[in-house]
Symmetry: C2
Subunit: 337 residues, 2 copies
DNA sequence: TTGTAGGCGTTATCAC
DNA sequence: GTGATAACGCCTACAA
């Protein structure tokens, strides 16, 4: 493959000039630039970015590590990251970790090894190297999203899950429900902690207490929502509304209720959080809270870029707008209206 | 940041020995290796992979370009790619193109610029450079998936959509349906072409012809399935079964039928292809054809790896197993049983 | 088993 | 405006 030297020879100039012609075109005479351009297209030259990267100590790429591309967050979030990255000529590479530590570490190597300038971690794990390394002061360009808000010294962003959950609880309370069940997420996760707290806070403001017996946990998957609902139904303790920490579990819940012969929202109202694409097309369509996670992605990327300027950059609490989207899965409890 | 030279100095050996200790540990004496290991951990050394990459002309990374991470194919496919990649120490980076040519080309640059060893393209577009460059014989390590099966000289894999569609049609025909509607995908796409042909072939074997008036097109999104079904219903021409080219459109169809007061499968049976995670939890749950697209991903990655060995490598037609998954959305038409 | 040295393809700093 | 040339950090013959 042709390299910069070949171009220089072919155009009768020095390699320095070729390099300039490509990166700082205003520094070379038009005529020379033309000769060079001709040589380039004639030889089909493509600059070797690895060499450039080695020399400039910059890869112009960041890695976004996500556990799973089905995650409701992921898509919108990544889109936000890309919006900002594109403006700055940075490429975004998605790494799927499946929640596995080893896969996360593998991609972290790319940052340590300079193949990427930084990493945005939207995962339950943290690269192992980061924990051990924190002490010597030198933090790597890593931005954390949502999880581990307290755990580490890294720059991080997070969304206000609390407010979203409060909005969901408000909606249910204002419809007149009093006997309310809840499907929570994994115990250890920050997001679950906040959404759970939001539910309780929202209800308490309306003078309602959540019965501990009516709280079941899932792992944010459809199936876990399905099974959690089964467990709720088996208890026999009645409820007319079901607060789900995310849409996936809400979809599983609706299915479980339907199989049990219960009508939604006639017998039980169901609400989720996330506004998945599928939410609109369930039977019944799902009432939910939409979060603009793309803004979160944008902020994460900005934080990453700012890191270049000042590595002391800290954290950003991103307040993304949330919006209640009322569809067919919620209504006033039977007998009220 | 410490480099190999620092380690060499600190351990009292030459840089060659350090390099060997890392890449070919059996070539160095245990005692030296220990000294080197000590130096490495003491200085917190991380090999610069960019430099290694420049020297070895290899990045040990491939890019998988997909239009959209919601695509039903994507997740499973990527998983397949990663399975094989991991065995070979290759990192997989996902690039999201949104179906845009410029974004695809941007990531293609990484291959041209040696930041990645190759690219697997699961997209409706093709990198522009590839078309212009085909002539001079030198093809780049690019593997095409599904689309453009005829269009180019690149290595490619594709799945047998025809058989999957035939299986769907068989199921519907064997239930006794005769008045059958269909929601097709985008006209130009290879996949749609094959699935469409499969539907017709399967039906014809049962002596059934598809009415052209009962064929509507969508773009594989839920919403398009919803709208296509609306159009079918407006026509007034009766049908008792609906063949959908994918699950997303089938989910949209079910919603449209429900809103129209029709029961599934009482009035209309609905079948999809793909076996999305959501398929199991629809109301009613969706009968569908499961395709093991992960195998397709594995083959694509193998083709990529084989390319290193012999660039003349051609194409593979991957026959992935398909499986009919009968759920609640299909039944015999009213009056039969 | 270890060391020496050349080069991978750029970019950036000088000089001219 | 342009040209020499020294890095960037590593790998790998070849020599010892």
């Amino acid at each position: 493959m042709a390299n910069i030297k070949d171009i220089a020879a072919h155009a009768g100039v020095s390699i320095a000039t070729v390099s300039r012609a490509l990166r700082k075109p205003d520094l070379v005479k038009d005529k020379t630039a033309a000769k060079i351009a001709a040589a380039i297209s004639e030889l089909g030259y493509k600059p070797n970015m690895v060499a450039a990267s080695l020399r400039r100590q910059k890869a112009d790429a960041v890695i976004v590590a996500v556990p799973d591309i089905h995650n409701p967050f992921t898509s919108l979030f990544v889109q936000g990251v890309e919006n900002v990255a594109r403006e700055h000529g940075v490429k975004v590479l998605l790494a799927i970790t499946e929640g596995r530590q080893d896969l996360l570490d593998l991609h972290y190597e790319m940052v340590a090894g300079k193949q990427a300038d930084g990493m945005i971690v939207l995962d339950v794990n943290l690269p192992t190297a980061i924990r051990t390394q924190g002490e010597d002061g030198r933090t790597l360009p890593i931005v954390l999203v949502c999880e581990y808000a307290e755990a580490s010294q890294q720059p991080r962003v997070r969304v206000d899950d609390l407010q979203a959950a409060i909005a969901a609880a408000n909606h249910i309370a204002s419809l007149g429900h009093r006997d309310i069940a809840c499907i929570a997420g994994p115990e250890r996760q920050r997001m679950s902690h906040d959404r759970q707290r939001g539910f309780r806070l929202g209800l308490r403001r309306a003078g309602i207490e959540l019965h501990e017996a009516l709280v079941e946990r899932g792992d944010y998957s459809i199936r876990s929502g399905f099974e959690a609902t089964r467990r709720l139904l088996e208890q026999g303790r009645p409820f007319t509304a079901l607060l789900c920490e995310n849409d996936e579990m809400a979809i599983g819940a609706i299915r479980a209720l339907a199989l049990d012969g219960l009508s939604v929202p006639g017998d039980v109202s169901v609400i989720g959080i996330d506004n998945l694409r599928f939410a609109e097309f369930c039977n019944p369509s799902l009432t939910t809270i939409a979060l603009s996670t793309d803004i979160l992605g944008e902020e994460a990327m900005r934080l990453m870029l700012d890191y270049d300027i000042d590595p002391e950059i800290g954290r950003r609490e991103v307040i993304v707008p949330h919006e209640l989207i009322v569809r067919d899965s919620t209504a006033a409890p039977r007998g009220q209206a």
